[in-house]
């Protein structure tokens, strides 16, 4: 065999490597390594002139193996592989030594040792390079359908963009309607446009889109397979109402008896709903469901039982059945409580599962027991025309009174207390060591928005906002803050430490105003807590095999460069599932995720690196140890009718677990063969001896 001719290229990475490693010494050391014909160093090896150094040496026939001593292969290997390929050299004749992340950075203050370590890393890469073999890329067919999980504003935009581009989309939403948290908002900053006015048309678009299949009241049960071919099981929960027949007329809404009333999620618990309900007036799809946990099964009749008959031969129907004009709500028909499992195959998945708002119950020091202490999302409902009071501003303690009066047909006048003083408290659960250290990012702005909205409608209202500091960094945000101050909203710099209830139900808010250096106390009729934005359940991330950050939000592949990618190829994230953000940012990220998914799928096939495991059928004894160890279920123990391990090349991810475990050494991992790895270890052993 011809002797390999290796070129070693040592990068300074500006000061990143050269600041700790003596690059010249490393280069001189590399020159003397076996089979190395040339060694060079350069300021930025990844730059055009840097790559040209490599290309020229290949072009001149000087080298046929390339070792780059620089940074991480995760970001830079593709660049140098392309450089080799451009000059006609098989791109798998490249090996990288990471002398930045694994050497100069961690050993910044031990320069001599860093240089020694860099030499070892280079020597080990050269040893491997001597044994490199040419490999060819493979291509696999992709399924071009996309699954979007979560039907809030982020999921809606991702689905629409992909659907509009002509790909098929499955949009899975766990609630009976899409719309997410945005549907609960009254108005939205910084333009104060009505949330449902801008959201509802999009929801309708999704429902009518020929390329989008909407699966509401459904949850992802399991995800198998890999990019290009994910096999997903989705459970459509039992709605207990026949959606084929339900017209969304709403006749059933008031049918439930008082005993079956439960807190209304859409109004954030400020009022109640029956067991049979339509989530909100603009729901898409506008269909009723029965909350089976709340249902009291009127007349003791289970689903699937025929109604009892009166003496004069009439059926005794449940109130909801009686109210339903189309027969959609029928208890006679048996229903499977488990719902139905739908199996999908998709090429990519976008996760847009949103957030939940931290509940006030954690904050006992802020008088959480008082009905007049509410969360900001509750405040949105209180001022919304579709809220519990149709937008009439009263103290929450009086909502039941209002509801009763409404039920009676708004007869005689009632006395309802409107707040005169409202205090907002920021960073409740955010930026706190006790709860969440992160900033929830939207609270400053929505508090200003709510204050502005209130002040515009009720100029006499006295409004205080207790901030740690005002974070209004977005486009047009600080102008918004100024407008708010001009309207007479009073800003207290200092977080409120405690709230106590006065005998008449009003609230004594005690904070410290750092501007005047004194404690301040405000007697308020209503207090709004800007509670933290929290990640939704981690269960889905586990099913998808994607990772979570310490705070529980989905973790992106790279904060700056791959903000919507995950470590699992083909799975993208966007919206508040990735971290707290406002609507503009959620939408921008959703569109980014959609475009990334489409970039992946548009060619219909995908390049697969050949760095995967292969079985030597001569050596394999068919013991079967490898198959259950494979995390990608890529190994079957059958080959040509014989008991032998066979690895599915499209499923194998090249992790090497099977190769390491095989007792007969019958499995080798291309690009990381036993020979290659042992040669690297031997180099380190030589250093150790010396």
């Amino acid at each position: 065999m011809k002797k390999p001719r290796i070129g070693v290229y040592v990068c300074h990475c500006g000061e990143n490597i050269a600041g700790a490693v003596d690059v010249k010494k490393v280069r001189e050391f590399a020159e003397k390594l076996p089979d190395v014909v040339v060694a060079r160093d350069y300021l930025f090896m990844c730059s055009d002139p840097g790559q040209e150094l490599i290309k020229k040496d290949i072009r001149d026939g000087l080298v046929d193996r390339v070792v780059v001593a620089s940074c991480t292969p995760k970001t830079h290997e593709p660049i140098f592989r392309r450089a080799c390929e451009a000059e006609g050299l098989n791109k798998y004749y490249l090996e990288m030594a990471n002398i930045r992340d694994q050497c100069s950075w961690p050993h910044w203050h031990e320069k001599e040792k860093a240089t020694e370590k860099a030499k070892q890393l280079v020597a080990s890469a050269v040893a491997k390079a001597r044994l490199l073999k040419p490999l060819e890329d493979m291509f696999v067919e992709l399924n071009q359908d996309v699954l979007v999980i979560g039907g809030g504003i982020a999921g809606i935009f991702a689905a629409l963009d992909i659907g509009n581009a002509g790909y098929r989309v499955y949009l899975v939403e766990k609630n009976p309607s899409i719309g997410g948290n945005m549907a609960k908002l009254d108005k939205t900053f910084p333009t104060n446009d009505c949330s449902s006015c801008i959201l509802t048309p999009l929801m309708v678009d999704v429902a009518n889109h020929p390329n989008i299949e909407l699966l509401t009241y459904s949850e992802v049960e399991s995800v198998e397979g890999t990019v290009g071919k994910f096999r997903v099981k989705v459970r459509k929960k039992q709605t207990w109402v026949d959606w084929e027949k339900c017209t969304g007329c709403g006749a059933c809404l008031d049918a439930c008896p008082p005993k079956a009333m439960v807190p209304n999620e859409f109004n954030e618990g400020l009022d109640t709903r029956g067991a049979i309900y339509i989530p909100f007036p603009q729901a898409v799809p506008r269909k009723a469901v029965i909350d089976i946990d709340a249902c009291i099964k009127c007349g003791g009749r289970e689903f699937g039982e025929a109604p009892r008959i009166t003496r004069d031969g009439k059926e005794i129907l449940a109130p909801c059945e009686k109210a339903c004009p189309t027969g959609a709500c029928s208890r006679t028909e048996p229903k499977n409580p488990e719902g139905e499992v739908v199996e999908l195959e998709v090429g990519a998945i976008i996760v847009a599962t949103g957030y939940r708002v931290m509940e006030k119950t954690h904050f006992k020091e802020l008088a959480a027991h008082s009905p007049n202490v509410i969360t900001a999302l509750q405040m949105e409902r209180l001022i919304s025309a579709t809220g519990p009071t149709e937008g009439k501003l009263i103290i929450p303690a009086d909502i039941p009174k209002y509801k009763a009066w409404k039920k009676k047909g708004r007869g005689e006048d009632i006395e309802l207390r409107s707040p005169e003083v409202i205090t907002f408290i920021s960073c409740v659960g955010s930026r706190s060591r006790k709860y969440h250290t992160y900033c929830s990012r939207v609270c400053c702005m929505y508090m200003l928005k709510q204050a502005m909205q209130l002040k515009e409608s009720y100029p006499d209202l006295e409004i205080y906002i207790s901030f740690i500091d005002v974070r209004a960094a977005g486009k047009d945000f600080d102008e918004y803050y100024m407008r708010c101050k001009e309207l007479g909203v009073k800003i207290i710099r200092g977080r409120a430490g405690g709230i106590q209830e006065l005998p008449d139900g009003r609230l004594l808010v005690r904070s410290y105003d750092s501007d005047i250096g004194k404690p301040v106390e405000i007697v308020s009729d209503l207090v709004v807590l800007a509670t933290a934005i929290e990640p939704s359940s981690s269960e889905l991330a586990r099913k998808l095999g994607i990772s979570l950050g310490v705070e529980g939000f989905l973790r992106e592949k790279h904060t700056k460069l791959y903000p919507v990618d995950t470590l699992r190829e083909g799975i993208f994230i966007c919206g508040c599932a990735q971290g707290p953000k406002d609507i503009p940012d959620s939408v921008a990220q959703a569109k980014a995720a959609a475009s990334s998914a489409m970039a992946l799928l548009s060619k219909g096939k995908m390049r697969v690196e050949p760095l995967i495991a292969e079985v030597d059928m001569e050596k394999c004894s068919g013991c079967g140890i490898c198959a259950p160890l494979c995390p990608y279920k890529a190994i079957t123990i059958e080959h040509d009718g014989k008991r032998r391990a066979e690895i599915n090349a499209t499923l194998c991810k090249g992790c090497g677990v099977c190769a390491a475990e095989c007792p007969s050494k019958a499995i080798d991992l291309h690009g990381f063969t036993f020979e290659q790895i042992l040669s690297q270890i031997e180099v380190f052993a030589e250093f150790e001896e010396a």
Binding site: K364, E365, A367, H369, G498, Q500, E501, L502, P503, L508
Partner: protein, 299 residues
């Protein structure tokens, strides 16, 4: 129900009428008290606990061991004793090294603390062990038309994790209110219920600030509840609200007078014990409220 009566210095030397009240009511409520011979200072806040954790825990452990030897828990009517002993115990139970060092010291006097016995607060013993029903039955007088504002006191509530009995919501405590309600009183909440009375460390370091806190609290009680009586579970709060109130009146800073009683004193009065014996020591006059209880409150 047997407990070691841990009196503490405040009650022993300043308010022995509280001791008389506890000793009077206990037998009728089925509570047996052991004198816990040899007990010392708990030790109180602002003394040893501020400078030497091991010494604090050792003194506390010695007191707790007096009960442990007899297989009983301690009971106290003083929030300071309650919290100092509870926090010392918490430290020992949660740090094996502290426990070891403490027992090394105790060994020199032939004692050992295993961490079993704890110090209970008399209010919790009454609420949980005796029970509201039994208290109601034992009372001879009912507090009809009497408005009470309660003062649970900081160390009755915080830090809740070290305490053997905990309010469900320490920011909105209910135990003392329930205990007063069962005697028939109209117990009214007020905003500064969980504020400090001003005793604590402030009293010895900055008397004016200490008075300021007491004044804030008293004025709030006056304004928001118009109470006839303040009831507390703590001997320090009792002394502070009673004595500081008198001082504020003398200086003309307040123009009202609200008598202050420890809960066990109120209970003893309702159970018909001699007021002179169980509630005889005070500077803010109590005669009027006591006669109201005794004369007009007969069941």
């Amino acid at each position: 129900m047997k407990y070691g009566l841990f009196l503490g210095c405040n009650i022993s030397f300043n308010r022995p009428d509280v001791e008389a009240a506890i000793r009077s009511v206990s037998p009728l409520l089925g509570v047996e008290l052991d004198d816990l011979n040899g007990q010392s200072c708990c030790p109180t806040w602002g003394t040893v606990p501020s400078v030497d954790t091991i010494a604090w825990c050792a003194v506390g452990a010695r007191n707790l061991a007096l009960g442990e030897e007899k297989g009983i828990d301690l009971v106290t009517a003083c929030n300071t004793c309650y919290s100092s002993l509870s926090e010392a115990r918490y430290k020992m139970l949660n740090d094996a090294e502290t426990m070891r060092e403490v027992n090394e010291i105790l060994k020199k006097i032939g004692k050992e603390y295993k961490g079993k016995s704890k110090c209970r607060h008399v209010a919790w013993v009454l609420y949980r062990d005796v029970g509201l029903d039994r208290i109601k039955k034992a009372a001879k007088y009912e507090l009809d038309d009497i408005v009470i504002a309660v003062q649970p006191g900081c160390h009755f509530l915080w830090p809740s994790k070290v305490l053997p009995d905990r309010e469900e919501d320490p920011f909105n405590p209910v135990v003392l209110r329930e205990l007063c309600k069962v005697l028939g009183a109209d117990v009214r909440p007020y905003t500064r219920m969980i504020d400090c009375c001003g005793a604590g460390a402030l009293k010895s370091t900055n008397q004016e600030k200490s008075y300021k806190l007491a004044k804030m609290k008293l004025e709030c009680i006056r304004k928001e509840t118009d109470a006839d009586l303040i009831v507390t579970t703590c001997s320090s709060c009792l002394i502070q609200l009673d004595e500081a109130q008198e001082m504020l009146r003398k200086r003309g800073e307040i123009d009202f007078s609200i008598p202050v009683l420890h809960y066990v004193q109120l209970l003893a009065l309702c159970m018909g014990f001699d007021p002179e014996r169980v509630a005889g020591i005070c500077v803010t006059p109590r005669d009027e409220i006591i006669s109201k209880i005794v004369e007009s409150g007969r069941k």
